[in-house]
């Protein structure tokens, strides 16, 4: 007659996961001046907003990990947010088996424990991914407003420059709604 024993297995895991999300989009700029000049005016506005210019690219890294890259030549913006997180978890499983089959039972139990840990980490990684996406979504909304303002100011500068090419600017008025009036003597 075989004797019953309890097999107990403990497994733990430490894993560093990297989750990230990002999106890219074109920048909508009116072609008032040649593209190179429009890019210069936009770059000027971006630098004033904390971007670092490197040739045809303006970048800004924020403390929370948000990376914003603006390609002035291609007139595109790319936003990315990533996070590295160390996940720790442990599990302990036990089963009562006949003493003759304890090796097989232990191996099976160990597989089960690893599967449980994998499933838990996958769920935690998915939750982290969701959190990163939600943060990015909120950041993108803010960035969109900021870029719209920068593009608006670059457009005003371009219009003023264009008007100066046409004649002598006598008066410039920008109302609260953002409407620009430039009076030019030809």
């Amino acid at each position: 007659m075989s004797r019953a024993i309890q097999v107990r297995v403990s497994e733990s895991v430490t894993r560093t996961v990297h989750v990230e999300d990002g999106v890219a989009a074109p920048l909508e700029m009116l072609p008032i001046l040649p593209p190179a000049r429009m890019a210069e005016l936009l770059a000027h506005e971006l630098v004033a907003r904390g971007f670092v210019r490197d040739g045809a690219r303006c970048t800004r890294s924020e403390p929370d990990g948000l990376e914003v890259t603006i390609d002035l030549e291609a007139a595109t913006v790319a936003v990315a947010l990533g996070a590295d997180v160390q996940l720790d978890d442990a599990v302990e499983l036990a089963v009562a088996v006949a003493v003759e089959s304890h090796e097989r039972a232990e191996a099976a139990l160990r597989d089960d424990a690893r599967q449980v840990l994998d499933d838990r980490l996958a769920a935690r990684t998915a939750a982290l991914q969701g959190a990163v996406t939600a943060r990015l979504e909120a950041k993108v909304a803010e960035l969109k407003r900021e870029l719209d303002a920068a593009i608006g100011r670059a457009t005003v500068a371009a219009l003023t420059e264009k008007a100066a090419q046409l004649g002598r600017i006598e008066e410039t008025h920008l109302d609260e709604a953002g409407n620009l009036t430039i009076r030019v003597r030809l």
Partner: protein
């Protein structure tokens, strides 16, 4: 009086299936496909002759518009002389697969052999235009059934350019097909005949797009549509038959005029922003077709009275009026909106869109 031809019962089913597909009897075809049957390895000469007779009706059926329910093309017979359609053994393989092959998919070879059909429709030889029309008709007749999905996965079907043109949404993924055969000779006539049905189908897909929730599904759909429209419109351009791509305008025009943008309103909010952004871009495939037409239109406006292709340019200018430069500008604005940085989604409209 000649004796009526005698064929085996299974052969009669093959012939009835061919006749049903050609006549556009979708309900009858679907009923036949519900009960798979065993087929002998070979068909008799009488069956071959009757199948030939059935397939000879494809061309008249297309011209009548009966096969697709597309409606009769206006004065079509005045523009084109009748030409023949060639069929190869692929059409017979298609019919056999529909009747027996589906039933043996996933079964052992012996079971497949017992039913007399291959489990998969292989693509070994280039399809003739007639084969492609039969593939198209089979996909059309099986619409709304699981058979259509199984059929769309077969290599033989996926090698038919006409199938991609009509059912890019069902076949999925980028096409590897060349579309030149459809832009000259009988192929061009087939596309002209099917144009109303193509426009209707592409428009329906465009409306359905708005309700797709899974970004990956929309990305796959967009990749298929982009590759099909890109390949087909390039082939039209190379062949000097830009008019064949007119169904793109007819598909988009009612949507543009009624301001029904292909904005995916129901994308899964738990998906990454990257995949949602890619899905939004993919949703604009038909609009990119309209943008290609708009670029063509600008070129047509520059053709002078003394130029050789002035009459063609004038016809194409008139064709573009289906959507008009204002409509094309609206489509362009939608493309810009689809490519823009996403805004935080609101509750979304509660209304529904009626079929056009």
């Amino acid at each position: 009086m000649a004796e009526p031809a005698r064929v085996a019962a299974s052969e009669a089913d093959l012939i009835a299936l061919a006749r049903g597909l050609v006549a556009g009897q979708g309900a009858e075809v679907r009923a036949m496909l519900r009960r798979p049957r065993a087929l002998p390895r070979m068909i008799s000469p009488a069956c071959a002759r009757l199948l030939g007779d059935a397939l000879a009706q494809v061309w008249p059926a297309l011209w009548r518009g009966g096969a697709t329910g597309a409606g009769r093309p206006a004065r079509f017979w005045q523009d084109h002389a009748p030409v023949g359609l060639a069929f190869s053994v692929a059409t017979l393989q298609l019919l056999r697969w529909l009747l027996a092959g589906r039933a043996v998919a996933g079964k052992p070879d012996a079971a497949a052999a017992a039913l007399g059909a291959a489990a998969a429709l292989a693509s070994e030889l280039p399809l003739t235009l007639g084969d492609q029309v039969m593939v198209y008709l089979a996909l059309d007749a099986t619409a709304g059934t699981a058979v259509q999905g199984e059929l769309a996965a077969q290599p033989l079907v996926r090698s038919a350019a006409l199938a991609w043109l009509g059912f890019a949404d069902r076949l999925g993924g980028p096409t590897g097909c060349e579309f030149d055969l459809l832009c000259r000779g009988a192929g061009a006539i087939v596309v002209e005949v099917l144009a109303p049905a193509l426009a209707r189908r592409w428009r329906t897909v465009e409306l359905d797009k708005r309700g797709i929730a899974a970004p990956d599904a929309l990305i796959a759909l967009g990749a298929a549509q982009d590759s099909v429209l890109g390949g087909f419109m390039s082939a039209c351009d190379r062949s000097g038959r830009r008019d064949l791509a007119g169904f793109v305008l007819d598909a988009a025009a009612p949507l543009v005029h009624r301001a029904i943008a292909p904005l995916p309103l129901a994308l899964d909010p738990s998906a990454t922003l990257a995949s949602r952004g890619a899905a939004r871009l993919a949703a604009g495939a038909l609009l990119r077709g309209v943008a290609t037409w708009a670029a063509w239109d600008r070129a047509h406006r520059g053709v002078r009275f003394i130029d050789d292709d002035y009459p063609t340019a004038q016809r194409l200018l008139a064709r573009f009026e289906a959507i008009s430069p204002a409509g094309a500008a609206r489509a362009e604005a939608w493309l810009t909106e689809l490519a823009a940085l996403p805004t935080v989604p609101g509750p979304g409209p509660a209304g529904t869109v009626d079929a056009l």
